[in-house]
Symmetry: C2
Subunit: 397 residues, 2 copies
Amino acid sequence: MAALLDPRTGLPVVGMVGGGQLSRMTHQAAIALGQSLRVLATDPAESAALVAADVRLGDHRSLADLEQLADGATVVTFDHEHVPTEHLHALEAAGHLVRPGPDALVHAQDKLVLRRALDAAGEPQPAWAQADSADDVAAFAAEHGWPVVLKTPRGGYDGKGVFVVSDAEESGRLLDRHGTLLVEARVVMVRELSAQVARSPFGQVAVWPVVETVQRDGVCAEVLAPAPGLSDELATAAQELAVRIADRLGVVGMLAVELFETADGVLVNELAMRPHNSGHWTIEGARTSQFEQHLRAVLDYPLGDTRMTAPVAVMANILGGAAADEDWTGPVLDERIHHFMAHWPDVKLHWYGKGQRSGRKLGHVTALGGDLTTVRARAAAAARYLADGVMEAPLRS
Amino acid sequence: MAALLDPRTGLPVVGMVGGGQLSRMTHQAAIALGQSLRVLATDPAESAALVAADVRLGDHRSLADLEQLADGATVVTFDHEHVPTEHLHALEAAGHLVRPGPDALVHAQDKLVLRRALDAAGEPQPAWAQADSADDVAAFAAEHGWPVVLKTPRGGYDGKGVFVVSDAEESGRLLDRHGTLLVEARVVMVRELSAQVARSPFGQVAVWPVVETVQRDGVCAEVLAPAPGLSDELATAAQELAVRIADRLGVVGMLAVELFETADGVLVNELAMRPHNSGHWTIEGARTSQFEQHLRAVLDYPLGDTRMTAPVAVMANILGGAAADEDWTGPVLDERIHHFMAHWPDVKLHWYGKGQRSGRKLGHVTALGGDLTTVRARAAAAARYLADGVMEAPLRS
């Protein structure tokens, strides 16, 4: 079947479900490839809806709205995991290309499905069980010790839906509220890593260097590329693990494998099958960004070169801070951007255009260079200034 | 006066006159800064109109259409030089910010005005005169020799409006057709260079390395950054010349100074006060692209770091070739892009989404690396394949 192409340009139209910053940055990449991303957004003020030419307003839980996105699109893809699986099957049955497909995507949607699949594949992961009752949790803890980690199988992100629990009573309350949960042994970890890979329908894969993700309060704060001090052996093992998972699950598009590094190696935490916060550094830090690569992969284009453009790249998220408070009396956003640009002329800004709320991911900055300590300090200070309006004196020199 | 800001984001709205590829690429840069470019396009199928969220359809020669663009915009700027000067004054009189302003922009619009200003400033340029009659041309040629170069003062670009003339009779015919012309001595040149500088209203300037522009049939084919073999002395002289011109003319935004390199130094050919084809390489090849820098400059934001990201960057234009012919039977565009990506995974594509016509600038590619010969060969071969469908065998290895 010949691909559906935009008659105005002779080029594909990618429809992306979700109007957040991942769609926004994918639109930037689409523009370079001669395309214009079609976005399904729930609100005209969403991040991607503010900048894309072809915005369809609708709900990702409505099949009719998804069909509106898919009609005339070459392929449908996602900036989040929240589309019901049955809708994805319905789109495929109607002849639309859905990438990643529902049978792959479910492993990023449902943590219990993921745990079963990784066990079947013999891949390393934390000890786990399905918990339907407080007794199930107590039995698991008897073997693996308290505290345990309880997770909602679906719908969690950025630390939401994850609970560290020290007794059966508390787990019972969570089970009453959420229904069936995933229970995991608490991992004694060195740090968190992320291995990103893109895979095309043809089966071509491309990997980036493994990165360290620094979390604060369950939310990604910084990404260090490449992961400092990671042995070549462990880096290769993590990349091979990501490629094996992408192949086995039939992933098409970007796959981020979030990993716990332990004294014994790496364990799989969870998967994302889309551009991911751990890959934002690739916009400036790699020859091909994760956003361009996701488009290439879902369109079955050959994949781009993933080499780094500098020895070190550090991405720091701008999380809504003091400057997002209603009673903020310091410099407003536009003034903070002036000061940011004056102070860090080499640090690249990505502001998402969203309303400023405490804790919300409002943007990110990326710094490149040769020395990790300097690069990381500059990225972190720039992000902190934009979020909190605080200029850190020791970093001014 | 506080700047006008988009109430949805708290950030500026730049209105750009013109819907071509320069607006398209400026929109990509605007997205990173939290903005969304507002575009005045003449047709919804124009390059930028296909990808921007805020497109106003109208004519740049209509004051009413320009006012529609300016109303609610923080600043008005341009992707071409064709807006009538009196309209720019009218916009300023109505309280709109116009950058670059009409008194600067006229030097990029009218080559006679430019020649007078450069003489007044004592800057190096070819011998020239205003020609109202064939006798004026003959008198000029008597002093400087035939052939001479006749140029229409306004409206020329990409070699259009430029005539190499060998006798008075032919110059008479051109004067009859075009009215007053600029006559210039034909320069014996080594090559063409371009010096780009950005200047903010505050007066901050930022310069990129001087580049060599390789022209074919009067159209830019390749840009080599930095200009190979250029002495530090001449590179610095060209950069200082560009900064002096920007300051003297009060340019705000990007300024490209197109130069002839001769045995005795550099001569100014013409100016562009906008992002320019000679700076497309900065998207991947410099920390701050000319598109982001233009936005920073017209908004009076501090300017970004202009350091190169690799020792060598080469941009090659994709000019409509054999594959744009109506009787083309080779791979269609989408197939050519597949082959391009397979063959040159490290070369970055920018396709403008325009209709394919012979000779038209349809896109460009940029290659980075350490060795000019290799990088240039890869960029040129990739561009040629996309334009003509010809894969050059010697470059396949």
